[in-house]
């Protein structure tokens, strides 16, 4: 009969493996701009204006950053 300690560690490893894989999935599969356009719905008037404003802000900062890319190619 196995002791509980190794199997606890196995559980912990599995859970960690699941979490890191999810992190990697989220990093790839979510275009966060898409999420924001749908998801931020405050219960106030003129929220569309806020959404539009946010996207414009994000796009302009993104354009700025593209001048100094940090990514590299082999």
């Amino acid at each position: 009969m196995t002791s509980t300690a190794p199997s606890d560690e196995l559980q912990a490893r599995r859970e960690l493996a699941r979490q890191v894989t999810l992190v990697e999935l989220l990093d790839r599969i979510l275009d966060k701009g898409v999420v924001i356009s749908g998801e931020i719905t405050l219960a106030v008037a003129d929220i569309d204006l806020v959404e539009v404003g946010l996207r414009a802000l994000i796009a302009s900062v993104d354009r700025l950053e593209r001048l100094r890319p940090e990514t590299t190619d082999v």
Binding site: L25, R28, V35, G38, E39, T72, D73
Partner: protein
Amino acid sequence: MLHLYAIVEQRAQCTGVGLDGEELIAIDCGDVVAVASEHARPLDAPPVEDALWEHEGVLEALLETGPVLPVRFGVRFADCGALRVEVQSNCARLAKALADVRGRVEVSLRLLARDDAPHMVDELDAMDGPGAKYILERLGERRDAERKLEAVRTRLSPLAVAERSRLLPRPGTSATAAFLVERHLLERFRREADELERELEDVTLVCTGPWPPYNFVDEPVGATV
């Protein structure tokens, strides 16, 4: 409403079901094919984890049958007409992108910092104001991350077609790197990464894959309803 999964080369690749058990539909767009599913009701927002894995599952099944340009979760169109207009206008670029990833998959490396030791930089000797300390500590952290990333790239880039990396994406993560790897080299890549993980003392390597080539194609399609 159409939920878009990917751009592929052939209609025949498109079989099975997607989100909510809806049939996958192949939509011809010039030289490429869009893979989507049709939904009567709006999908959950924000998406639940299961939906994301279902979307990813469609991509990975497609990946078994040919090159795939993965579309991120949440790209939707009112109807086939709207989708076709968007995709067809990009079709030359998309066809080329498909050719570029044929036979290749993405492997992810995440470098997790192993310790919390403060990072030293030479410049710190000369400057001891609190502001300088704050910035230079961060500089030390950055240089440390660069060094670790370089060790990984030196070892693994020779086995890859291309590589993208990002330093210090968040606290605790020194760097993330994505490698585009020929399928037939995947096992060799994995073994090399395994060896490297054992060798590196100050960083934990988290290697996952194979993924569809998210990081090696420009956003294939970006429109939303």
